[in-house]
């Protein structure tokens, strides 16, 4: 690497420094927009005791669900964890801790974490089990709860294109949590479909500026689809 060039050539290099008990923030919604190769590398490394902050936990045998097979995850912070039998088994047996977090609150926790804001008030979850143990404050007659932001030792992100200095463009709804995740890692690693030369991306169209990105690797993606629904005719 030299200057701002953040391209790495191996997954080992991409995830160098990962160790047991770390927190990883992951982009993706279901199996859409997930850094498939980075997840495979985490599995290969075999690190354990991970806390993973991600909207979902993949499915059996794909996405983050792969990390359940060798019990690498200690705790999941997610809004929805269906579609996964091994997850259910580990959760019910108490091997896996789950912090269910409303989806918008989860996105804002990542956004705030990356933006240097330690906590924020939201009406989401007031009066529900989510509010237990959290400070309540009234603004203009309405009740809000205090939610703390999150940051990770690593953030793993999937983007469509990157230039060599880490400016990112996402594609369609594969964007989802990726832009916030990208800001919230001490080390942010991005797996992309295509790496282009500096100058090829229009500065007006950059979704994530390169300042947030530490390492880029070109992946090859299977892009599994959870539910193929087709037009009737």
């Amino acid at each position: 690497m030299s200057g701002f060039n953040k391209v790495v050539s191996s997954y080992q290099e991409a995830m160098a420094g990962l160790s047991d008990d770390m927190t990883i923030i992951a982009g993706g919604f279901g199996l859409c927009g997930i850094p498939e190769g980075l997840i495979t590398e985490i599995k290969r490394q075999g690190v354990k005791g991970l806390t993973i902050v991600s909207n979902n936990c993949g499915t059996d045998n794909f996405g983050l669900g792969m990390l359940l097979e060798d019990k690498q995850i200690k705790k999941m912070v997610s809004s929805y964890v269906g579609e996964n039998a091994e997850f259910e088994r580990q959760y019910l047996s108490g091997e896996l801790e789950v912090d269910l977090t409303p989806q918008g609150t989860l996105a804002e926790k990542m956004r705030a974490g990356g933006a240097g804001i330690p906590a924020f008030y939201t009406a989401t979850g007031y009066g529900t089990p989510v509010a237990e143990g959290k400070e309540v404050k009234q603004f203009n007659g309405r009740n809000y709860i205090l939610e703390e932001s999150v940051t990770g030792d690593f953030a793993i992100v999937k983007a469509w294109k990157a230039d060599k200095i880490g400016n990112l463009v996402y594609r369609d709804t594969a964007m989802n949590f990726n832009p916030m995740a990208a800001t919230a890692g001490k080390i942010t690693v991005v797996e992309v479909e295509e790496i282009v030369e500096v100058g090829e991306l229009d500065p007006n169209q950059i979704h994530t500026p390169g300042i947030y990105v530490n390492r880029i690797i070109k992946g090859s993606f299977e892009k599994r689809i959870e539910k193929i629904t087709l037009a009737k005719n």
Binding site: L31, G33, A107, T122, A123, T124, T173, A174, K223, I225
Partner: protein, 220 residues
């Protein structure tokens, strides 16, 4: 006759107004998209980051990068925009979405809703439901009036863990349209052929019945 799922969706569709941005939950709410009146335009929001949900794709159009919040493959409508989850929930929490339609296990007479968790059963999570009910001014709940054992789902007080407090204003069930205000359910309409007595019998919470309760009408 009680309404079937499509008829509930048809009745909800009558609540849509021209120019509305609408978030439809999973299940019956999703069906509402099939019954948008032809003389109005609405734009559907999907909380994973799409404003302007188009029809399901043809086989050639299927794209793993284009899904809705139910993780189904979709297309983008003309004029759609795509954005991050934080932006999506800024729209929702900030009150920019005009109408949210979602299902529920229980609603009570104070507008509390329980929709994500049954103790003793596996909890899969609330997804975006807590943000949606906290952010929307205008929430319609669709559900059957009673469960399979005829236990009312319209209660004095929700028994299950809540998704949101004091947020539901309107309910469309297989039997009735009701408004929730001042600590009571107010009966507005009944399904064709359904008696006020049946609705009363299947409503456990406080029910206000006006002198005249019209039957729902369907143009389709």
């Amino acid at each position: 006759m009680s309404l079937n799922r499509d008829q509930i969706a048809m009745r909800v569709a009558q609540e849509l107004e021209d120019g509305y941005y609408v978030n439809l939950g999973i299940g019956i709410p999703t069906l509402v998209a099939n019954y948008v009146p032809s003389d109005i335009e609405v734009m559907l929001q999907s909380e994973n980051g799409l404003l302007g949900i188009g029809p399901y794709p043809t086989e050639d159009q299927v794209d793993a990068d284009m899904i809705n919040a139910g993780k189904e493959t979709v297309t983008a409508a003309l004029g759609a925009s795509i954005f991050s989850s934080a932006e999506s929930f800024a729209m929702i929490r900030g009150g920019h979405v005009n109408l949210t339609v979602l299902g529920a296990f229980e609603v009570d007479q104070n507008g509390n809703i329980a929709s994500y968790m049954i103790p003793g059963k596996l909890v899969k999570g609330m997804g975006g439901a807590m943000d949606l009910v906290a952010g929307a001014d205008n929430i319609i709940v669709t559900m059957t009036h009673a469960d399979k054992r005829d236990n009312s789902k319209l209660l004095e007080r929700c028994s299950l863990p809540l998704t949101g407090v004091g947020c539901v204003k309107r309910i469309v069930t297989d039997l009735a349209v009701l408004e929730v205000k001042d600590g009571a359910f107010h009966l507005l309409e009944r399904a064709p052929g359904v008696s006020v007595e049946e609705i009363q019998q299947k409503t456990a919470g406080k029910l206000i019945i006006p002198e005249n309760v019209p039957e729902m009408t369907f143009d389709h």
